[in-house]
Symmetry: C2
DNA sequence: CTGAATTAGTTTCATATGTAACTATTATGC
DNA sequence: GCATAATAGTTACATATGAAACTAATTCAG
C-alpha cells in the first residue's frame, strides 16, 4: 500500500495527551493558591522563581519560567501592589531592576511551597520510585527535543 | 530535624515541567495549521474530534477533548461560518444538534492529519520504541490519577 | 564623542478564555 | 397535567494573554 490511510486517534496523540495532563495538573495546583492567597498562575510562578533564585531582573524571571516579558511585567506589578515583591533599580544599569520577595512575600511563599510539594507528592504516588525517575528522565529528553525542533523551524 | 526546610526547585517540579513541555508542543503544532489553514487551537481540536468520531453533539465534543461547552460553541460557530462543519438539529431532542465535517472540512482535515502525525513522529524520534511505550503508559497513569485527585477535592 | 542599534520594561490594542446569566427544550415529582 | 428541575447551547461581561508600539537607558560603530 503506497500510503496507508492515516487516522488521527486523538486519545493516543501525544500532543493532545500532554495538553490534557498539563491542564489537569495546572488547574489542581491553581486551586491550592488561588482562593487562600489570591494569586494568579503567573504571579505564583514569579514568586516561585524569586523564592528560589534570589534577586533577579524581570527578564531573568522570564527566562527561568518560560514566560514572556509582558506577562512578567504584569505579574510583578500586581505583586508589588500587594507588597509581596520589592524592586530596586540597578545602579550600574538603570534599565534593569532587581526583584526579590519582601518579608511578606517570603512568608506567603513559605506557606505555599509545602502545598505545592504536597500536591506533587500525591500526584507522584501513582508511580513507583523507579517509574518516577524514568518518567522524569524521558520528559526531560522530550522537553529538550521539543525545544530543538521548535528552533529548527 | 522536625521539618526540613522545603525548597521548591522549579526546574525539577513536575507541574512546572509538564507545563513547559505541553506549551512547547502545542506551539509547534499550532504553527503547522494556523498559517496555512487559519484555524485556532480550539477549532482544530474540534475538527479532530469530528474527524475521528463521526456525528457528535457539541457536548460530546467537549467531553472528548476536555473543553468546556462555551469554547466548543465558539469554535463550532467559526467552523460553520467557513463551511467546514455542518449542523443538524436532532429530531428526537431539539436541544441537541449533531455535528459533522462538511466535504470541505473533511478535505482540510485530511491535509492536516499527516502534518500533525509527522510532528508527533519527529518528537518521538528522541525516544527508543520501548521508551516511547513506557512514557505513554506512565503518562496515562498520571492523567488518570490527576483526574482522580481533581475530583477528590 | 555622536547617532544607530540593542536592551529592559511598560503600555496599548486586539483576541482568547472562563464564569455567569440567559433561552429553549426535555425530564421529573407530585 | 403542571410546576420545577435539569440539560443543550448561546450570549454577555469581565479577565487574561500575546503582539506590537512605545519609553528610557545603554552599547557600539565610525
Amino acid at each position: 500500500m503506497p500510503n496507508a490511510l492515516q487516522a488521527l486517534e486523538l486519545e493516543k496523540f501525544l500532543p493532545y495527551r500532554l495538553s490534557v495532563l498539563a491542564q489537569l495538573v495546572s488547574e489542581s495546583l491553581h486551586d491550592l493558591y488561588t482562593q487562600p492567597f489570591g494569586l494568579s498562575v503567573t504571579q505564583w510562578r514569579v514568586m516561585a522563581a524569586l523564592g528560589r533564585f534570589a534577586p533577579l531582573s524581570a527578564s531573568d524571571v522570564g527566562q527561568r519560567i518560560v514566560m514572556d516579558k509582558v506577562a512578567v511585567s504584569r505579574a510583578v506589578a500586581g505583586l508589588m501592589k500587594r507588597g509581596l515583591v520589592e524592586r530596586a533599580t540597578d545602579r550600574s544599569d538603570r534599565r534593569r531592576a532587581s526583584l526579590k520577595l519582601s518579608a511578606r512575600g517570603r512568608a506567603m511563599h513559605a506557606e505555599i511551597v509545602p502545598l505545592a510539594l504536597g500536591y506533587e507528592a500525591r500526584l507522584y504516588k501513582v508511580l513507583a520510585p523507579d517509574e518516577r525517575r524514568s518518567f522524569d528522565a524521558l520528559a526531560d529528553r522530550l522537553i529538550a527535543h521539543a525545544q530543538a525542533l521548535r528552533e529548527a523551524t
